[in-house]
Symmetry: C2
Subunit: 366 residues, 2 copies
Amino acid sequence: MDYQKRIKKLQEKLRRKKVDALLVSQPENRRYLCGYRSGDHGIGESSGLLLVTARGKVYLLTDFRFKLQAQQDVPWAEVVLYPKGVMRLLNRLLPELAITSLAFESDYTLYSVADKLSTTLGKKGIKMVPTNGLVETMREIKDEQEINLIRKAVRLNEAVFTDIHNALSRYSTEIDIALAIETTMRRKGAEKPSFSTIVASGANGALPHAVPGNSALAQNGSLTIDMGLILDGYCSDMTRNLVVGKPDQRYLELHRLVRRAQLAGAAAIRAGARCSDVDKAARDVIADAGYGEYFGHSLGHGVGLAVHEEPRLSTRSNKILKAGMVVTVEPGIYIPGWGGIRLENMYVVREDGSENLNSDTTWLDL
Amino acid sequence: MDYQKRIKKLQEKLRRKKVDALLVSQPENRRYLCGYRSGDHGIGESSGLLLVTARGKVYLLTDFRFKLQAQQDVPWAEVVLYPKGVMRLLNRLLPELAITSLAFESDYTLYSVADKLSTTLGKKGIKMVPTNGLVETMREIKDEQEINLIRKAVRLNEAVFTDIHNALSRYSTEIDIALAIETTMRRKGAEKPSFSTIVASGANGALPHAVPGNSALAQNGSLTIDMGLILDGYCSDMTRNLVVGKPDQRYLELHRLVRRAQLAGAAAIRAGARCSDVDKAARDVIADAGYGEYFGHSLGHGVGLAVHEEPRLSTRSNKILKAGMVVTVEPGIYIPGWGGIRLENMYVVREDGSENLNSDTTWLDL
């Protein structure tokens, strides 16, 4: 990855905003800008902050525990430790660097932290400047190198799913399947799941974010598997719906309906299309069939270093799609007491349409 | 759990602070107060907010995806959905409830969210009040029912470790062991790991937060396993250090040294002790042996619904231990190029000392 190019682009933005530096706290933004692979254990436990100055060097601020990893991943940045906390380090380092205005990421900085930074650094004449989206907007559009990495993640995702699907008769509970999926993906080289694997059998399928349980799989009922993985930093996200045993007529009808909605959504994707229009293209198919009230979430979301990122394919998003964006298309129908069906593929937005990153589409057409 | 008692205690605090309600966003605080089991996918993707009014009802605000789970887990609260976002709901609901001052958790609210709440609700005459620690301080001291749940989590943790330890010759890489641990814990009923399992072989042991890798385990080198799980919401956290093959003299000496430091730390625990003094009791043992510079992190941390919570056993913490707190004691020595040794048990603070929640202490005494 050309990290220097990304840094330079960000530095131009900082100079245009007339700030001396940006403190990058959001972990995917951090990884995007410098390749540092350590993750955070939640927002309260950071594995480091990237300080990008507008006209000078880049500093990776971290603590003792991550020193070796930081030096290994980002040999071109200066790794600075904060044995007594990041506040003390900034209080010393920023005046040394003659920084008088420090931008921070308001979408990934706690109110209490921003407040403390403001008070502490204010005494040294340093002004805190809330910003948002400076790096996220860069991340929205993927270059071909990134799309290739995402393609690899999607392929691995499909390989794992195929393994599990072929051996489905071996598993007797939702948890069995979820564990097999997560173990297989890691054996095949994934860093980790991109989110907690969802395996929902029978009526559980009516909960879009069901937690896998220990009871026996429903026979002749629907089974929803929503799984994703992270490979070399990039995420996949895919949902398949199938039946253990013999599908009934209603299942077949609804599966076809959801699939038609998915194809309609995908067909609406192209550079220049409005996100809400893509959502509407799929939603109309489900609504026209009388199931509108059972599709309660957005049609899709961007995927990249984060599994959920901009743009959102939602009724509320006026954003315009651009070539190089990567989005999911995942319509669903959820009927309390009966179950649910959701189908999800990933698409690259191209100038003249979309590229489906998933390949196993045939079996979806029941 | 007696959720009503916890809510009442919080409501008293709110009345003392002269605020009309608290918006609880921190997921463990939310679970502590009402038992809602859905987790968040990071701070930007909440599965719900708990609105606790100072004199009235409790509302669980969530979206379509979590409706059934919310109603199932918290039948006594009013579940309110926000199909058009939480901001719109609050803008309608708070005036209906005659709320004019709304406290929020500044340690788990993004700057951008607090800013938007302030602006939007300000127009309706509602004042936002930053608070911190209102629920966290309640969580610090565990009652016997909670301690029992933690005890069960620790026991399950040990059972999983024993299984893996007995079968160690089967595994050839760090990832193999990590996967076996995480699969075994979930098969035995754990919700999930409480953090990403650390398995560090040979020189990797010098990174306290090493990510398990795919290369062969170092023979006759040290192997650090740091693992935790969540059972019924409560966390365990345990580190063991062992050798695949034959330990050398240096390993044996350092293992004994770390163990002596751990016992010294544990012996310093009692209600009324200062956290920094407990840290010092263990740190002095390592420093006196000439290894002070190789022990770069704090001695321990609280464990409960979160795997890392207050109190911290650190040189920088002036907090006083109270009966019912549960803490880890985990000294370590990390030598770049050679490897590391860390030992971690969990202790309940009692009036007259501490109760070791771990039982397999004998084999630690090499």
